[in-house]
Symmetry: D2
Subunit: 234 residues, 4 copies
């Protein structure tokens, strides 16, 4: 039994992501076929066109570019993660077919900060859960039923998003009001897709950063106000 | 803390479900407008048309009819349930915003059958989990973090399906190879939608019952063979 | 052959739309089951809760409420209409199986305004298209091939949206930059759903009206500026 | 004005398609992380695993693999094509923003076979449509309105499918009951994806070829019977 950190790793992506987006956009608005368009645009032209698409909010062409991640997180967070339904595909480690022997788990920061007795009891609880799980399997309880007693443990997923659904994911999950674990994943993911693209994710992130507005209404974290006052000072 | 049974209750449905499906189908294949069509078909004609649609497998018109359920199940099963992405909408009790004090839980049949020490330890584990959860809240750990230690407890959902997505759900989840809890819910749901419709769900269920075939290949439960040999005896 | 106006008629809707949305929202954030919640809320409480959901932008609960329309429009517009993919279902008159004898058609306002020779030629073209279509059918060309020569003629659809996808539709299609025919339909539809609900569509419409912002960037029609200067005058 | 043939060209695909599908599948059913799994499988093992997935019908892992096509077809067929909503993204040449000067078109085989007066009138109709379209533009009718009079002319699309949605597309559209143009495209596409993958599309095609069954009921083309009697002769 081992503590792990939630993490997301970009395992595959579209090397031609921006080219595909630009080609699709140009097809919509020009007389040429896609074949000619692919050849004729320079890298600068492609990036310029992608920038324009982002400015105009014509995000449908972003659906042609794909990014796959290997994600390690708690089952609390995987339950949230899979709620996004459009433009995204999931494969998740099965607890019916895979026995959770020697499972890993994530310790929430608030538990770590509390430390002392709280942290000790939390860890013991995971230890006891593992022991009881093992005992039930030994008594021929099938893994699909023994898992009922397990707390939120580590799970593994492969998740493939298109660039448009990633935009949606980032706008919701990079927000400081999002749950800390999924927010941490979202920020890791945003950093990685930015590293492998030139301009495609220039407008990705929370609405306060990108649009200068906050959709949370009275529940707002106040960050937008801070961003605005910083801008005024500049 | 209380044991509960998984259950699904039809809380709202389209009283005109079959009329809508028939109207949509007739619109596709006739010169008349939808207004005229609604008025002109007798109940018998509508049911006849729905039967024909089901026979021909033209299921897209089934998307116009909606059925809403209140579902009580374990979080193990809700995690599976929400994986169906098309033609279905979910609202689920939040563990971030709602404290799980005095939670209920589901006991898997295999644990009940095992009884004795197994059942006793299982119940004690839930009791201890509740106590530790309460203790952490008392130490100012937020509910969204304290929930990490909780085993699979009861959750509540409102789920709205259209008739086509229900067909998909029933074909996968009524199967004897589906997990017992979700299969139980699926069968309750199939029974209830059949009670409020005349013919719309005549072809719903597992492939072995409905199509006389099994998509599970070498993992088949063998029920299809039984159905076929029973038919031969008749 | 006859000229028709594009039109949308609400043919079926969820009488409990707001109740369902409120119930789903309350289920997410309260300890009670859906059954109790449905009973306990007064109409005022339900409307208040729906207003709050709209303010906070928690639109997922809007997916439980459904609205069905019979739409008459040109095939130019139906081709656009069916591009919305999420939370919406379509049934459309088939040109493979239904012969287009005596078809109707829509005359764009710009053609009408041009009048004179333009309008005359436009109408004659439709007349000639009908005659050639009929001649091909008489020569045993199947309807699915004869339709290739048809201009954009009238088509019929039944379309069912959930309230969330309607919001999306209205935000895109009520915009003055949307094509005139689909914009006309969108405005008819928004008017009708507002008539049968109390508060559910209070925030529906274009971003300039609802959010005081314009997503069209440099292509903006300038209406937002007008709205803002009107507000300042008040 | 020029006659063209409908065509589909694979413009981009996942070179690691089968590896990604195999990795995702193995993640679901093994204790290892995705990183290790990618490295450890030989090409033979990956193909073997993909074959097993196809046999068991566990198609969800196929969603991680993407294939993009440039499609040239009539607007009759593009209207059908865009009706598939799940796991697929479209970008289509706009008739609002791109003027259709010197447009191309597709001549249905039945018109060609008819030949003589039928073919002549069909071609003349397209010629006259082009001339009237040009005349309206000259009279300042905007392209978005002048297009109303156009018959089904050639359009261009970029379409990206995941492998699962391609399976769905092939099962519906390779069928001899599908409209000839979309069937022709589907067969071109199936051929091309088979050329760039080893086993991933082994089970793709119509139900009669792949499953030995026909979903068309009384509308069946009779091909299944032929396949079955051929098999008996072998």
């Amino acid at each position: 039994m081992m503590e792990v950190k939630p993490r997301a790793r970009l395992i595959d992506y579209d090397e031609k992501a921006e080219e595909k987006v630009a080609t699709a956009a140009r097809l919509c608005y020009s007389r040429q076929g896609a074949e000619e368009l692919q050849e004729q645009m320079s890298r600068e032209e492609k990036e310029e066109l992608v920038r324009k698409i982002l400015d105009l909010g014509h995000y449908s062409t972003l659906e042609h570019a794909y990014f796959a991640f290997h994600i390690v997180c708690s089952r609390v967070t995987s339950h949230q993660l899979v709620r996004q339904r459009v433009g995204v595909s999931y494969s998740q480690r099965s607890q019916r077919y895979v026995q959770e022997d020697g499972f890993s788990y994530i310790i929430p920061p608030s538990i770590k900060r509390a430390g002392g007795q709280v942290l000790k009891e939390f860890k013991e609880h995971y230890q006891q859960s593992q022991e009881l799980y093992d005992r039930l399997l030994a008594e021929d309880v099938p893994p699909e039923d023994a898992r009922f007693l397990l707390p939120a443990i580590k799970t593994n997923l492969v998740v493939t998003y298109n660039a448009r659904s990633l935009y949606h994911f980032f706008s919701l999950r990079c927000c400081s009001r999002a749950q800390w674990e999924i927010r941490g994943l979202a920020r890791q993911m945003l950093k990685q897709v930015r590293e492998v693209t030139a301009v495609l994710f220039d407008k990705a992130g929370t609405d306060c950063e990108v649009k200068g507005e906050c959709p949370e209404g009275e529940l707002s974290c106040g960050r937008l106000e801070k961003i605005k006052s910083d801008e005024e000072e500049d």
